[in-house]
Amino acid sequence: MENLIALLIGAPLLGAAVLLCGGRRLDRAGHWLGTLLAAVSFVIGLALFADMLGKAADDRAMHQHLFSWIPVEGFQADIAFQLDQLSMTFVLLITGVGTLIHVYSIGYMEHDERRRRFFGYLNLFVAAMLLLVLADNYLLLYFGWEGVGLASYLLIGFWQHKPSAATAAKKAFLVNRVGDIGLSIAIMLMFTTFGTFAFGPVLESAGETGEGTLTAIGLMLLLAACGKSAQVPLQSWLGDAMEGPTPVSALIHAATMVTAGVYLIVRSADIFNAAPDAQLVVTIVGAVTLLFGAIVGCAKDDIKKALAGSTMSQIGYMILAAGLGPIGYVFAIMHLVTHGFFKAGLFLGAGSVMHGMNDEVDMRKYGGLRKYMPVTFATFGLGYLAIIGFPGLSGFFSKDKIIEAAFAKGGTEGWILGAVTLLGAAITAYYMTRVMLMTFFGEKRWQPDEHGHEPHPHESPKSMTVPMILLAFGSVFAGGIFGIGDRFVNWLKPVTDYEHGHPPISAMAVTSATVAVMVIGVGLAYLQYGRRPVPVVAPRGSLLTRAARRDLLQDDFNHAVFVTGGTHLTRSLVYVDHSLVDGVVNGTAAGVGGLSGRLRKLQNGHVRSYAVSMFGGTAVLIAATLLMRAV
């Protein structure tokens, strides 16, 4: 059975290879092939899952060792996989949602002449992401880690003729690279500390080394997670990443890749458990991002950017939960999965809307779309309810647990974190309601564009709606299936050894508080956007609003500090290289030349001056000889 693990990755990889090298002759069938192979991978995943369920909880983990990757003196890196419950969860999420989005893309990318390549990239992504979650050592994980980075680079910049897209892609890759520094340093630390970086040995013996080292490793891992999962301070790329086609946003920048950071932290649970300081930092990062994303989400008029902000904030929840330790890991993952469903659904919905609106993304130009595209409305609505944590829907279960866990952290920390999570829940409800109202309610606000043809909103083809419907199911029931009876908790227990936290206040109180803040958030949004018409041109807005529209000035900061500073640095270095380093050499050459020119003058063509030099020379010779004898 283990041997199937490689196939999980192999199928989409094959797809990528064929589609990218195949050339134009595959244009007609390419998308079907891609989708098929993704589905194959999903089926294999299910098979393995079934097999896994058949086993006892503790020996469910499977290993497959393909071959030794980098065999060097005292350094062993293998191409080897480990499939345990945690990985399994991801496998199913990735392949499942991935397949749906492949299907969706068939319709969405129908009119793009480079559709084949798009599917190639998607397959490449799926393969890389699976490698990431299946690796049994950190270096191989790094491999997948960069692989998804590459796929995301290619897909964000898929419409390369748009400079904005190309720039966004580059930005995403660079910011991720900054995070990667963290990951590689972490791996180096592991190597110098444990002599290896395979999950098994490292995690088992994590306790044996000093807390300082572990904290360092933990923080480095966190840095990596920040890059991948768009956490403060490395979150700036996610908003721009929306330049990519919407299915990409749904799959990579909502459901799967951006959650890799959470996976990394949960995977390294043993290290973090032994390094409380690192954990604290993790929770702080999570909390900050949670609010940051939420605030940004409130201000954006671009529907995808609003959703991106929401993604950021939701991942903030997960990171925070992961930072809480054993009481949080499970819920981090659980929220990750449910979020995978409803956020993917929301994005696909947004995509469907844009599809009907000539790719208009400004919500102020929407309005009243519910009657034009009912299916989209329905699915989007369910996703909406799920994310704001409407009782009974999946978001409710996962988020509520996190909030509980946050309080359960105990002490002031617990209170602060709990408060933050609650506040986050309120804001989430607010901005999601805002999105909902601006898009589907109120009267239509769109006008003909400069070419004069007015958008004719219409429902999307089956290939797009079906995945949306399926995801909607996920958003509705996933939470219940997981949450009721702690199924999910027991499922993951072998990996993350869950311990039940005891919040200072009863779980019931937390839940009701959650619901309450949710209602408040919805109410506020309704007052602002439901009661009175939405202005087509965005009002100037408060200082905070304006800052939030600019991602809370994050980009301005980066630009001022890194871009401008960097440009000056390189310019000056180029100058230094040319005039200083090179100048010294050329200077010496010129010096010798000048000397030569001057000495040359002595050769003035007059015999007598030659004779003088000989005479003088002789005198010197005599003097020197006598002197030598004298001394």
Binding site: V72, E73, H161, G566, V581
Partner: protein
């Protein structure tokens, strides 16, 4: 005695060079095919060397030894260790692609006199360089190595100065001027380095009385050859200076951008992917092998210089306007990594450095050759003159991107393996240096992606609208290289197998052992 395989490997291209040069002016194409054929035969021979080499065997294998210049204590001594084998393979592997890529670079212009036979000369010189480089990887006699080290400058010099890139901004005159400036700069830098090394070589003779690498190392090991530490330091510096110019190490690097900028892309590849490797190779074999103590003494300074090269090279690369100069500075940064790996003096570092030499050769070749194809289409080296190429020539853009990704050492492509090994190896001994070097991966991403974005993406520029995509010949050049990058990126074992023992020997030369992990957990076997 057995068949002199090593000599043959070097002799074939040498003879081939003479034959190619002899081809009459009219039969230009014949000369090209002859050169290609010869390079392929050499490749086969190199393959045999690779196959015949037993990782478990002696340090130097396939050895040959003949008396040559008794009075100078010079012998014609050949032998290869794993590092030599790997680099010979690299050289023999790249030359056919270089020749194929430069197929039309040396076709004579109408204006030139009929007796002037540039094409024959071009390919003959390339083969001559190949012969000398291969022999220098095989030489186990310091003097023999020195001779080749110096002599290979001459053909390189003519390749750079005689066959400039026809794509240049400005008039032919100042292009010619720049070209000969670049050529002279290349030659003088390396010649000065070589002459300083000559002094050291003579000094070595005075101290040791012969030039046999093995004998000297042995004598040093068993103490029969005492060397005053000051002497050893001076000799080391003499050798290292020459190699650092060749490598090139900051601040001795400025000849490289000129040379690579002015030369045709294939020649640029020859410089950076093949000839410069002799420098790093020699550091590993001669500096560490002959002067272990001095090497350790100099390590801190060298590590610092290497770090400067890494960061500085990358930053300056970001600021370049000329595609080929950008690649040149990128190479400087990479050479920084190689030297860092060598002088970290850990198994990982040195294995990494060796792999790095090979991988950097392949990746730079891929990137540079595609860049050459691009430049030859548009007739300009300036990044600003391009834009949106990806739309009109997707395959070219794709291969260019892969070359770039290899340059920024993306996992899955060969350079990642070596770069990570170097980083780990360095970090294990000098954590701070390791961390500083790690920033290089961000800067690499920066210059590669900026280059790709400015040339390939965005709206299509008028001038490139009619640009054809890669032709079959060009594909034949690029595809194998990329395949190789992927293969070695996932399965470098064939290389590491031959390299590991050599590294073990070097480590014992310098009497250094790897730092042990602070928590000696069960070894990898146990983990599995």
């Amino acid at each position: 005695m057995s068949f002199p395989l090593l000599t043959a490997t070097a002799a074939v291209p040498a003879v081939g060079a003479i034959l190619t040069a002899a081809v009459p002016a009219a039969r230009r194409t014949a000369a090209k095919w002859l050169a290609l054929l010869v390079s392929l035969v050499t490749l086969v021979l190199a393959g045999i060397v690779f196959a015949r080499f037993e990782p478990g065997g002696d340090r130097y294998q396939l050895t040959e030894s003949h008396s040559w210049i008794k009075d100078f204590g010079v012998r014609y001594e050949l032998g290869v260790d794993g590092i030599g084998v790997a680099l010979i393979a690299l050289t023999a592997l790249l030359i056919p692609f270089v020749i194929l890529a430069g197929w039309h670079d040396a076709d004579p212009l109408e204006t030139q006199s009929k007796r002037w036979r540039p094409t024959q000369g071009f390919f003959a010189l390339i083969l001559m360089v190949e012969a000398m480089v291969i022999l220098s990887f095989e030489a186990t006699d310091v003097f023999l190595f020195y001779i080749l080290f110096e002599a290979m400058l001459i053909p390189m010099y003519f390749l750079i100065g005689g066959f400039g890139d026809r794509a240049h901004s400005g008039t032919d005159e100042n292009a010619a001027a720049q070209r000969s400036y670049a050529a002279v700069k290349f030659l003088l830098y390396n010649l000065v380095g070589g002459l300083i090394m000559l002094a050291a070589v003579i000094g070595l003779y005075v101290v040791a009385g012969n030039f046999s690498l093995t004998e000297i190392a042995e004598a040093r090991a068993n103490g029969s050859l005492e060397m005053a530490s000051s002497t050893e330091k001076w000799l080391f510096l003499g050798f290292f200076f020459a190699f650092a110019v060749k490598a090139p190490l900051w601040p001795l690097h400025t000849w490289l951008p000129n040379a690579m900028g002015e030369a045709t892309a294939p020649v640029a590849v020859l410089i950076t992917a093949v000839v410069d490797k002799v420098g790093t190779f020699a550091m590993l074999r001669f500096c560490l092998g002959l002067f272990p103590e001095a090497s350790k003494w100099a390590t801190p300074a060298i590590v610092v210089l290497a770090l400067i090269s890494i960061v500085y090279g990358a930053l300056v690369a970001v600021g370049q306007r000329d595609i080929k100069r950008l690649v040149a500075y990128a190479s400087i940064s990479h050479f920084g990594f190689i030297i860092l790996g060598i002088f970290a003096m850990t198994s990982q570092g040195q294995s990494g450095a060796t792999l790095y030499m090979v991988n950097h050769g392949i990746s730079t070749a891929a990137l540079m050759l595609v860049a050459g194809f691009l430049i030859s289409r548009r007739g300009s080296r300036l990044i600003a003159d391009y834009g949106g190429v990806q739309k009109v020539a997707p395959v070219l853009a794709g291969t260019f991107l892969i070359g770039g990704l290899a340059t920024l050492s993306l996992p899955g492509l060969a350079p990642f393996v070596s770069e990570f090994l170097v980083l780990v190896g360095t970090f294990a001994r000098y954590p701070v240096a390791g961390i500083v070097a790690t920033t290089g991966i961000v800067l690499a991403a920066l210059y590669v992606l900026v280059l790709y974005q400015r040339t390939m993406t965005g709206p299509v520029k008028e001038e490139v609208r009619s640009m054809p995509d890669l032709r079959p010949r060009e594909l034949a050049v690029v595809t194998p290289l990329i395949a190789l990058l992927l293969f070695l990126g996932v399965f470098p074992k064939p290389l590491t197998d031959v390299v590991n023992p050599a590294v073990r020997h070097t480590m014992s030369d310098v009497q250094r052992t790897d730092p042990q992990p602070e928590v000696p957990v069960q070894t990898v076997e146990a983990a599995k």
